[in-house]
């Protein structure tokens, strides 16, 4: 169908986007790779102008042998996995709920998507101070009201708390996409199944869920991309303490707090590798659904 002329036109039209993104990827990537092989301690007077000393794979070795490395990979995967499970599961439930006939559907929908409009910094601040504070937080008041000892959320249940905050932010996104998908479901098919006496769970399992699989794929893919790099939520709530140090937070500590650019850059390269492993993994498992 496509002519030669339209092929070259197509290439030309794709060029700006491709070139821009290639630049955006390559410039920092090459600099990061370069730094990762050098001793770059700006606080000790190292600078590009004075020339950086080549140290080979020393930074790479140091970064992985640090006692924080494997826990941080684990924490990253737990947070990403936890948020994905919660948002997808609750998202499906909410999407089905919002698809039911009811009064004031528009208003409810607004309530449900509202958290998506809140900046991560604001949501972390609000949750940390006004809800999870063990003395003045609202949750502490509720616990006390029922005669229970308030939970010290961000220290004693740090990972679940963090997963909860992030899930709250991303649940609307998952719900929206899943809702759009559910609305496109052929209701006649469902009604026919209902007539045949198929129980609710069976209908859900054999008709609704397969129909949603593509939307779930999309939700998982996009959220993973964003979740792998969450930063503000951790910075504001725990500052990386209590086992909430993700790989990107560890890199932040190396680069900004310790001012060791070489070491942090090596960590950056590891993070890119991890992200790609996760991406390939995702593609293998769910890529079939994405006949892009």
């Amino acid at each position: 169908m496509a002519t030669k002329a339209s092929r070259s036109a197509a290439r030309l039209m794709m060029a700006p986007a491709v070139v821009l993104l290639l630049g955006w990827m390559l410039v920092p990537l090459i600099m990061t790779l370069w730094f990762s092989f050098t001793k770059y301690l700006p606080m000790r007077g190292d600078s590009i102008a004075n020339g950086l000393d080549w140290v080979g794979f020393e930074n790479y070795g140091r970064f992985v042998t640090s006692s924080s490395f494997w826990p941080s990979v684990q924490t990253t995967l737990i947070i990403v996995g936890g948020v994905l499970v919660i948002t997808v599961a609750l998202g499906i439930v909410l999407a089905i709920l919002l698809d039911q006939p009811m009064w004031g559907q528009g208003v409810v929908r607004i309530f449900v998507i509202a958290p998506f409009f809140v900046m991560p910094t604001v949501s972390a601040l609000v949750w940390k101070n006004m809800f999870m504070d063990p003395v003045n937080g609202l949750l502490a008041h509720i616990w006390k009201f029922f005669g229970a000892t308030p939970v010290e959320w961000l220290s004693q249940a740090s990972l679940p708390s963090l997963i909860m905050i992030v899930s709250w932010q991303w649940l609307p996104f998952a719900t929206l996409i899943l809702l759009t998908a559910i609305q496109s479901l052929d209701s006649e098919q469902l009604e026919a199944a209902e007539m045949d006496g198929a129980p609710v769970l069976k209908r859900f399992w054999y008709i609704v869920l397969p129909h949603l699989s593509r939307a779930v794929t999309i939700v998982i893919l996009i959220q993973t991309i964003f979740l792998l790099s969450i930063f503000a939520e951790i910075f504001v709530t725990t500052g990386g303490a209590f086992g909430t140090k993700t790989l990107s937070y560890l890199i932040f500590q190396r680069v900004l707090e310790s001012q060791n650019i070489g070491l942090g850059s090596a960590g950056g390269v590891y993070a890119i590798i991890l992200a790609n492993i996760v991406a390939i993994f995702l593609m293998r498992i769910v890529g079939k659904n994405l006949d892009a």
């Binding site: 606080m43 063990p134 003395v135 500052g239 990386g240 086992g243 140090k245």
Partner: protein, 434 residues
């Protein structure tokens, strides 16, 4: 005609040019503490006096540190004045990143700056930042609760007395915690507090050969004492409490004692914010009789990054904001209790200021701190609650995260100290000390 217009335009441009050379706009990065916000509100006075305008970048402390450190180490030049502390100043000054403040005017009277502050903000005798306010740490306690407990606070208490008094003041049913202290991770938060506590127990960060000392009994003693006392008398969730969390607890009347920055004295005695304003007493930070008290020394100071294009205007601003005149300006608008403390000798000689209840104790606390001789045993470093080497912030933040995990009950003191020992030695090796 055309020529004439062009001439007009040229004159206009040159006029603007001369004017702008005279009236600069400087960009200042500062922390969102109350005294700085007050300074922001008084900017008009500076503009009226010098013609220069100011653009403020006010950020929360952690964000500010991250922001100015990136900018100065890359020579970004985004700011003309940075608000930095006693930790950064000597390191950055030694790197040649800051403009030396050696040509301050006579009426500024640089010799009036408290010697402790001036030394802490200098490198090799050159001043690199002017103190906006300075602080040490001291005990703030509730006089009414102390009386109720049947105890009397000495002027210079010991840790044992503090622990005993804390236990006596604690009243869990009424949500009164005997003592509130920092447990929050971060080298400038809980890290600073546990370091000064350890100092008073005879511990030190490094021996003379830069070997980490967390495997020594002094650290275990200090940490066990701290954890034990907080379990008996501390507030719930203290592992996440920093300066500000404790301040609000104290202001709400939920703490019997609080050992923290001397600047907090003006907040806890301010009836607008504090429910216990008229019931607060002060004492020196505690010791264990080994000769070192658990008090630190800190200053928030204004410095000019070496790349700034507007050094003249920046110097003028620093001379304005850290002058005697500025202190008088604040006193005339907000009262003497609210002037920025701890920077100038003349302030403590002022009879008006001597009437402020916490003035003398603040000065005594500052004078009790000695950054060049911070510990019982000898150390190769300068600094009390920090070690003035570039690697310290990163190391101490990780160490304090291990300690906070102890406070939250997630690991034992021994585990945390072993981890701290290992990670500190690793980092020091990476930096080439060992």
């Amino acid at each position: 005609m055309y020529l004439k217009n062009a001439l007009h335009a040229a004159t206009a441009i040159s006029l603007i040019a001369t004017y702008s050379a005279y009236a600069d706009t400087i960009t200042i990065a500062t922390v969102n503490n109350g005294d700085m916000i007050r300074m922001q509100g008084l900017t008009d006075d500076f503009t009226a006096k010098t013609g220069h305008n100011v653009e403020w970048v006010t950020l929360e402390e952690n964000v500010l540190r991250q922001r100015v450190t990136t900018d100065i180490s890359t020579k970004g030049g985004a700011f003309d004045i940075m608000t930095i502390g006693m930790y950064e100043t000597p390191i950055w000054g030694a790197n040649g990143w800051l403009v030396p403040l050696d040509n301050l005017s006579a009426e500024y009277d640089v010799d009036d700056i408290l010697p402790a502050m001036r030394n802490g903000l200098s490198n090799d005798g050159t001043l690199y930042a002017a103190p906006f306010y300075g602080e040490s740490s001291m005990v703030m306690y509730r006089t009414d609760l102390m009386e109720k407990a049947g105890l009397e606070m000495p002027k210079a208490p010991t840790w044992d007395f503090i622990r005993q008094a804390a236990a006596a003041m604690t009243d869990r049913d009424n949500e009164i915690n005997g003592i509130c202290l920092r447990g929050k991770a971060g080298w400038g938060e809980g890290g600073a507090f546990i370091t000064v506590t350890a100092n008073s127990f005879g511990a030190r960060w490094f021996d003379e050969g830069w070997n980490a000392q967390f495997d020594q009994p002094e650290w275990a003693n200090a940490l066990n004492f701290f954890v034990g006392m907080m379990a008996e008398s501390g507030p719930p969730g203290y592992a996440t409490n920093g300066f500000n969390e404790n301040l609000s607890l104290f202001q709400q009347g939920k703490c019997g004692m609080w050992i923290d920055a001397t600047v907090a004295a003006s907040f806890v005695t301010n009836p607008n914010d504090s429910t216990v304003a008229d019931k607060v007493g002060f004492a020196l930070a505690p010791d264990t009789g080994l000769g070192k008290r658990a008090n630190w020394l800190w200053a928030w100071a204004l410095a000019i990054p070496a790349g700034s294009q507007k050094v003249d205007a920046a110097v003028q601003f620093i001379e304005w904001a850290t002058s005697k005149g500025y202190i008088e300006l604040v006193a005339s608008k907000e009262g003497w209790a609210n002037v920025p403390p701890g920077a100038r000798t003349s302030l403590y000689e002022n009879p008006e200021y001597q009437k402020v209840p916490f003035a003398q104790m603040t000065l005594d606390s500052i004078n009790a701190a000695d950054p060049t001789n911070p510990t019982v045993k000898p150390v190769p470093y300068v600094g009390i609650q920090f070690v003035a080497i570039p690697e310290f912030a990163g190391i101490a933040t990780e160490v304090s995260q291990e300690f906070s995990a102890v406070y939250a009950g997630q690991q034992t003191v021994e585990e945390a100290l072993a981890k701290a020992q290992a990670l500190t030695n690793d980092a020091m090796e990476a930096a080439g000390y060992r």
